[in-house]
Symmetry: C2
Subunit: 308 residues, 2 copies
């Protein structure tokens, strides 16, 4: 079984959407990535940090999904990272109401010894220096390193971001961020420029408009599944990334053809994530539901047309 | 060979995009629809109206593509419909600078006798009463009737629009218009409501984000091809519709499976339309180019994933 190491936040989220609001609930990139990856046959472990206020039951939820949390540092006298946001009617638009870094401010990641040899490495959205520190602790390069980032790091830590991006195989980024990073409006041109920064594979996430995978002049597109209700988009991007790397890790196949399937697998899992608040849908998700919806993705996208 | 009757405008367009601007050039829904349909083995004819200022050479351009223009009324002492628009950097957003109805103000469509028995009927974006008059002139119902419309008719002629929509098989409409028509934000729910107005098939066009086909709980998605340059989006929606009905008419097959191929064929042709100003790219387009790009659509969307 492949070892998958996941760097990312464990957090409290408070979310408001047109359909309701939550108190502080379990959130964070590592949470969503690992829950999505737990749908695959992989040996996953998290590197992260929480405060003394983080319920043990949250870690146990992850452990029940066979996610190793021994790499989660607990700082008893400090508080867990907290994010609060409000979504508009157009769920693609959100306001951040609060960001309290708390323990994240001094996070020095430490990869546990039994995860120093991961086959696959997922660097969730965090300070690029933290992402780099994890890369540097691993003596043998994993088969595939995937990095997720966001505009905040482009605006504030550009040089550090460029250093870590140069070291990864796959970058996942949303469309606006791809345009900002490249200075190009066309996503084809944007992907070409981002390739030149290091990553052989560029995945551009477009929310309800799907995701594009670019590799060396090739492009593959996975739509988002058209849903009757999108309840809460929080975590959809991380769930996509977790499904992507979970598929890659469980199949031990880093070819472009297999990466197409990984993009579909990620879109598939993200389509569940948004159906309920927070992690609720991902926690209860069964493999039968995942398989049924994969069939819907096939029906949604596959056609048979004669080429003369 | 199937007979395809196309109702729509022939127009002068003046277009400004971030990449340049044109004087008055050939435009109009019937122009783009018929040029796209001319890529298929169909016997197409146009019902439309122009003024005495409309160059004979424009009609000859269409005739050279074997498009019958005997249903185009020429009103010598009046002027042709004129539209002028300006696109922003985000080419999904445009301002209409001028709309001069001219001959369109008193348009009474008259289907030529040799097109009173079309196998396929494409009702391009026009006043719903004009669309209805064409339906009423045809004694035997065509195999498939496709209607395109826009928000202007929803705002100003709702009742007439509802009457004509009730009589068609397929409606093509953009995402914002589908939301307006249905009062639903979710496109799945919007399509369900629009089904209940009459059309068995609902095609929702999302511009650079592709197109969705809905039928009785089924959904199919065709992406827009990611392009390095989008030069001028004018006519892309009509080109999509022309490719859609051209494929349907040339294959004589009105099944849902074949309609999926028609959505791909429409998206394929629209991807060419936007590469140059106005009709330029569509006029010079070869069947080899069309076939080559269909292969790109396959590579963009097709994947092979195991379902357990």
């Amino acid at each position: 079984m492949s070892k998958l190491l996941i760097l990312g936040t464990l957090a409290f989220d408070a979310i408001e959407t047109p359909f309701g609001k939550t108190d502080k609930i379990l959130g964070g990139a590592a949470t969503y990535i690992s829950l999505a990856a737990s749908q695959f046959n992989v040996d996953s472990g998290i590197v992260s940090i929480v405060g003394g206020d983080f319920p043990k039951s949250y870690l146990q939820k992850l452990n029940q999904k066979k996610i190793d949390t021994s790499g989660v540092e607990i700082v008893e006298d400090k508080k867990t990272f907290f994010w609060s946001g409000k979504y508009h009617n157009d769920l693609n638009v959100r306001d951040t109401l609060a960001t309290e870094l708390n323990v994240l401010a001094d996070f020095k990641p430490k990869v546990p010894e039994h995860f120093l040899n991961p086959d696959f490495l997922m660097l969730g959205n965090l300070h690029p220096t933290v992402q780099m520190e994890v890369i540097q602790q691993i003596p043998i390069r994993p088969k595939l390193v995937v990095l997720d980032t966001m505009n905040f790091w482009m605006n504030n830590t550009w040089d550090e971001l460029m250093e870590v991006i140069a070291k990864v195989d796959v970058i996942t980024i949303n469309d606006e961020e791809a345009r900002q990073m490249s200075g190009e409006y066309s996503l084809v041109k944007a992907a070409n420029k981002i390739h030149s920064l290091g990553p052989r594979y560029v995945v551009i996430k477009k929310g309800e408009h799907g995701a594009l995978l670019f590799e060396n002049g090739n492009a593959f597109f996975a739509p988002a599944l058209p849903l009757e209700e999108v309840f809460d988009p929080t975590g959809a991007g991380d769930t996509f990334a977790g499904g992507f790397i979970g598929h890659m890790a469980s199949t031990h196949d880093i070819s472009y053809e297999n990466m197409k399937r990984a993009v579909i697998a990620g879109s598939n899992l993200a389509s569940f994530c948004v159906e309920k608040f927070g992690t609720e849908r991902m926690e209860e998700l069964t493999s039968e539901e995942v398989q049924d919806r994969l069939l819907q993705f096939k029906l949604l996208t596959q056609f048979d047309i004669e080429l003369s």
